[in-house]
């Protein structure tokens, strides 16, 4: 009987995830929240189907009734995001909230399964982050002054990064985190938001060569500090964000091409200057010859992705703990292992859905600051997803960044939620523009 339940649950979960991702793409076609409404009903059903089936599997295998509490807590957090947020901000973009909810829920389930302590910590941080995102959304919508203080963001970001160099603690050979009042922060994550805000502020005004130069200069300062801390993944993300935002603001393809050339040259230089870059590169080219040493992480990740097959091994039937750093950098492999490749691919498609939705909002926004902000946030999401999933599957060399909203990590989840809060603020601004235009139209045609 138990076997029947767990086996069938496995298939239904994978199918539900695939439909979820598909509906996410279909929803992009509908411009208004009203038309998306029937989709949201289905998405809610799918989300809770996955949640219930996953916790049934966890209960069957763990036989610990306290797991039920985790399940309820997950449901509450998901509800917080998909129900409370639209209640407070009726003009927000619910599709992005649903996609974020899916990622968060997956994160909770996988983390509870791998490491309960980390799972519950993640849930608490996520709940707090969602509340912070409410605040961020309200503040940024309410006070347009925040769209004009680019220099503040620029300075704040650099000082954060410098602070970590001065008072930061060393983990795994890199200065990445700073501990304040018992909480550990990774300022590089917050610096990312600061950079996006800075770029949006600077480029929403003038887009001449001078402002572009300033943008690149500030980005390089950020990157230099990060490279000094040997955080290569974060600096790559910042660079790509800068490149894409500059391109979108100026509409000049030459910036994109020049930036790509620069990025390529930078990677080659990094290869010659940093020994750990070389090590990662050789591990990427051939992880098999040194399977005991430098190739260990990557090969274990590949085993994890492959051995679950399309439908996954089922929760508690796989062995995600065999992969080092599975909760952070290799969470995709853990999901692929136990939930199956179909689920894992759907999850990445949902990340892509968030990105495309943000780009669509950019296209529809009149307010340039909001549009550039959306692009920056979207690029940050998708490029980070690309780096971590591609790195774990040997598509590109490993960079060691987190999968937004899924990986374990307080700073990562906090910044992701803040970015979603910022995005929602721009969504509301977009709706305002819409109402404005509508009112104007009514006035002209004399319908009003």
């Amino acid at each position: 009987m138990i076997l029947y339940i767990t086996e069938i649950a496995k298939y239904i979960t994978a199918c539900a995830a695939a439909i979820y991702a598909l509906l996410g793409f279909i929803t992009l076609k509908f411009k208004s929240e009203k038309r998306r409404k029937p989709v949201y009903v289905i998405l809610t059903v799918l989300l809770f189907t996955i949640l219930i089936l996953s916790f049934i599997q966890i209960l069957v295998n763990n036989r610990d009734i306290s797991m039920l509490l985790y399940g309820i807590f997950t449901a509450v957090i998901v509800m917080l995001l998909i129900s409370l947020f639209p209640l407070v901000f009726p003009d927000c973009n619910r599709m992005v909230l649903y996609n974020a909810a899916f990622l968060l829920q997956t994160s909770f389930i996988v983390l509870v399964r791998i490491n309960q302590a980390k799972g519950i910590r993640q849930m608490i941080i996520a709940a707090a982050s969602i509340l912070v995102s409410f605040l961020v959304c309200q503040i940024y919508y309410k006070f347009p002054i925040f769209s004009r203080i680019g220099f503040v963001y620029g300075a704040l970001g650099v000082s954060m990064l410098l602070a970590v160099r001065v008072i930061g603690s060393m983990t795994n050979g890199s200065y990445l985190s700073v501990t304040l009042m018992g909480l550990t922060f990774q300022p590089s994550e917050f610096a990312k938001i600061m950079l996006i805000l800075f770029l949006a502020c600077t480029l929403s005004g003038r887009t001449d060569i001078l402002s572009v130069g300033v943008c690149f200069a500030v980005t390089f300062v950020y990157m230099l500090v990060l490279l000094a801390s040997r955080d290569l993944g974060a600096s790559a993300i910042l660079f790509v964000i800068c490149l894409c935002v500059v391109y979108l603001a100026t509409e000049k393809i030459r910036y994109l091409l020049a930036g790509l050339a620069l990025g390529g040259a930078g990677s080659v230089l990094a290869y010659f200057f940093f020994s750990h870059v070389r090590r990662r590169f050789t591990a990427w080219i051939d992880p098999w010859t040194n399977i005991d040493g430098s190739g260990y992480q990557l090969t274990q990740s590949l085993f994890g992705i492959s051995s679950g097959g399309f439908w996954g091994t089922g929760l508690f039937k796989g062995d995600p703990s065999a992969i080092p750093y599975v909760e952070d950098d290799f969470i995709f492999s853990a999901v692929a292992n136990e939930f199956g490749i179909i689920y894992a691919v759907s999850m990445v498609c949902i990340c892509l859905g968030i990105f495309l939705m943000m780009l669509l909002e950019t296209a529809r926004l009149r307010d340039k600051w909001s549009g550039l902000l959306d692009t920056g946030i979207g690029i940050s999401f998708i490029f980070q997803t690309f780096l971590t999933v591609g790195g774990g599957s040997r598509f590109i060399p490993l960079t060691g960044v987190t999968l937004p909203l899924v990986s374990y990590g307080g700073s990562s989840i906090m910044t992701s939620m803040i970015m979603i809060g910022l995005f929602q603020a721009t969504s509301i601004i977009r709706m305002d523009e819409h109402y404005d235009a509508l009112a104007r139209y009514r006035g002209y045609t004399g319908e009003g």
Binding site: M1, L3, Y4, K31, S32, K34, P86, L87, F89, P90, D91, Q138, K142, F143, P144, C244, L248, E251, I291, Y296, Q300, L302, F303, I305, S306, K317, G318, D319, A322, A336, I341, V345, V348, L352, F355, L356, L359, T362, A363, R366, G371, T375, I382, T385, V389, S393, F395, E433, H434, Y435, D436, A437, L438, A439, R440, Y441, R442, Y444, E447, G448
Partner: protein
């Protein structure tokens, strides 16, 4: 300037509804939206006329359709509005948005396709890797499946003892040691090829539920091999005390019916004897000589030399004449016939049937080395063999830079030339199958424990090694070997065999030789190919041919009997 300018004002929405009481807000459009109780989520502070009072019917007239708004939004008709154009001109940023969207979507699509493709197509290799702990997990869940021979014998199965631990049992022990292999310590043979299926259980849910209820492990998938147990045992015992290898295959499908390698070991006790077996460098017991042993091909290589000669002299090969005096000398280097025999006047067929080294050395010097090199390349020399078993790469080199000595040595399969028995068998298979080589395979079927077929190996063509005419000529030549040449031990009433013997000298300056035979029967409609190599046994005609004969005899006895 008042502090108000710091706040974003949200006037339009309220203006709109107040201007148009008939076009009010319809509840469900924006869930949770609080227009009807005085919407104030964002803008209560200032910026619009606050005259609206909650519940005041004069201000707000209840639910009205939202349809009009939808249409307008989708048409974007207000964009035609000149005032709108002037004041809200939007930058042409859609092109950039589309480009970025496409770039990243394509990047993600490429990555996901790669992940799915890579992990699916490499799933078998990845799961068999000894660093993959997944196999340990599977071993806990499933009882490893059986390996069954084509005539229905269990070649390997797992047994659960009283303590509940399972052991792998190989009922035939040494006889199938290399071909069936073992599943511990990295694995080998069919155990390794089909590891993916054997360790998994794809039985139906009800079968697995039954096993679970009984407290047993799930039954693993069973592998049905192409190996014929009776032929394998016959080949094993026919080889006697000699080291070497025997391969029996079906040229029309590529099925391998028997594969023997000696010296051998007992897979049942491999874990205990591992140390002595793996450290034994001298006799390499663990090496499957049939696929991994590199031997000088000796006269069996004359098949290749003859093929090249036919290719270069399509009309004139039959006019070839040579007078053999027991040895052939050119530029101070000479080649002797086997044990100094003198063949006298021989033609092309005669040279081949009598296996005249002198004649072939002479022929070899006439060959165009460039063309010969491409023929060797096409016959898979210097390439991995298209087979699932790990095999060694055969070596035979023809090039313009070769000395006369090397050219003569090459043409009689001595010198630096080395082949694996499987490779020789595959060349024979191609000749027997009108020039077309079928990919050799060992696993016929994989079934779940309740009989559902998971994988059915279809015979696959590898490609054409030679034309049909060339194959026919070679068949005729090999028939003559049996009828009037070195393979006359195979003359038999019930079937007509074709083949080539070889006595390959393996140490320069000594006359000791490995005994080779490779051939097939019946010559007119070949059903099986047999390749025999017996190390240090002497003459191929005397030692290897009788082994092949016993296999042919047994096969056709059973075949005629059963048909």
């Amino acid at each position: 300037m008042s502090l108000k300018c710091l706040f974003r004002s949200k006037k339009y929405k309220e203006d709109y509804y107040e201007d148009d009481p008939e076009q009010g807000y319809d509840g469900p459009d924006y869930p949770g939206d609080g227009y009807d109780n005085g919407y104030n989520g964002i803008n209560h502070s200032q910026g619009y006329d606050n005259s609206y009072k909650e519940g005041d019917p004069s201000m707000y007239n209840g639910p009205v359709s939202y349809e009009g708004i939808e249409d307008i939004e989708d048409d974007y008709s207000y964009e035609d509005d000149p005032d709108y154009k002037r004041r809200y001109r939007r930058p042409h940023k859609n092109r950039g948005v589309v480009l970025l969207g496409c770039i990243f979507s394509l990047l993600m699509a490429a990555m996901l396709t790669y992940i799915v493709y890579y992990s699916y197509s490499n799933r078998k290799e990845l799961i068999s890797n000894s660093y993959n702990k997944r196999s340990v997990q599977l071993a806990k869940e499933n009882l490893r499946g059986r390996i069954v021979s084509s005539d229905g014998y269990d070649l390997a199965y797992s047994e659960v003892d009283e303590k509940g631990e399972d052991h792998r049992v190989y009922p035939f022990g040494n006889e199938f040691a290399h071909v069936v292999g073992y599943n511990i310590l990295g694995g080998s043979g069919i155990e390794k090829i089909s590891d993916y299926y054997l360790m998994r259980s794809d039985a139906s849910l009800s079968t697995r539920a039954d096993a679970m209820d009984k407290g047993q492990k799930f039954p693993g998938n069973n592998v049905y091999s192409t190996i014929n147990a009776s032929l394998q045992r016959l080949a094993y015992y026919s080889l006697g005390d000699y080291d070497g290898a025997v391969i029996v295959s079906d040229p029309k499908t590529g099925r391998i019916l028997a594969m023997v390698s000696k010296p051998d070991f007992d897979p049942n006790t491999i874990a205990d004897n591992w140390k002595s077996l793996s450290q034994d460098k001298e006799s390499s017991v663990l090496l499957n000589r049939a696929t991994g042993g590199l031997y000088p091909p000796g006269s069996t290589f004359k098949i290749v030399t003859a093929l090249e000669y036919i290719r270069e002299h399509p009309a004139g090969y039959n006019d070839y004449k040579f007078h053999c005096q027991g040895s052939f000398t050119k530029d101070d280097t000479s080649v002797k016939c086997y044990h100094g025999s003198v063949h006298g006047n021989v033609d092309f067929y005669g040279s081949f049937a009598q296996s005249c080294n002198s004649s072939f050395a002479n022929m070899g010097l006439e060959l165009d080395q460039k063309k010969f090199s491409s023929t060797l390349d096409k016959l898979l020399f210097g390439h991995e063999l298209p087979t699932e078993l790990p095999s060694a790469v055969s070596r035979a080199e023809a090039s313009k830079g070769l000395s006369v000595h090397d050219r003569m040595q090459l043409s009689i399969g001595q010198g630096k030339t080395l082949v694996t028995p499987l490779h020789m068998n595959m060349i024979t298979m191609a000749i027997a199958n009108d020039g077309l080589l079928m990919k050799p395979y060992l696993v016929e079927l994989v079934k779940t424990s309740d009989g559902h077929v998971l994988e059915n190996t279809e015979p696959k063509e590898y490609g054409r090694l030679m034309s049909q005419e060339e194959a026919d000529i070679l068949t005729e030549m090999m028939t003559k070997v049996v009828e009037e040449g070195t393979g006359s031990g195979l003359k038999s009433a019930s079937y007509h065999a074709a083949g080539k013997t070889g006595s390959a000298e393996y140490m320069t300056g000594k006359t000791d030789s490995h005994a080779w035979f490779t051939g097939f029967a019946p010559a007119s409609d070949p059903r099986i190919c047999v390749t025999v190599i017996m190390e240090k046994a002497g003459s191929g005609g005397r030692m290897a041919v009788p082994v092949a004969k016993r296999i042919f005899d047994e096969y056709f006895r059973v075949y005629n009997y059963g048909d």
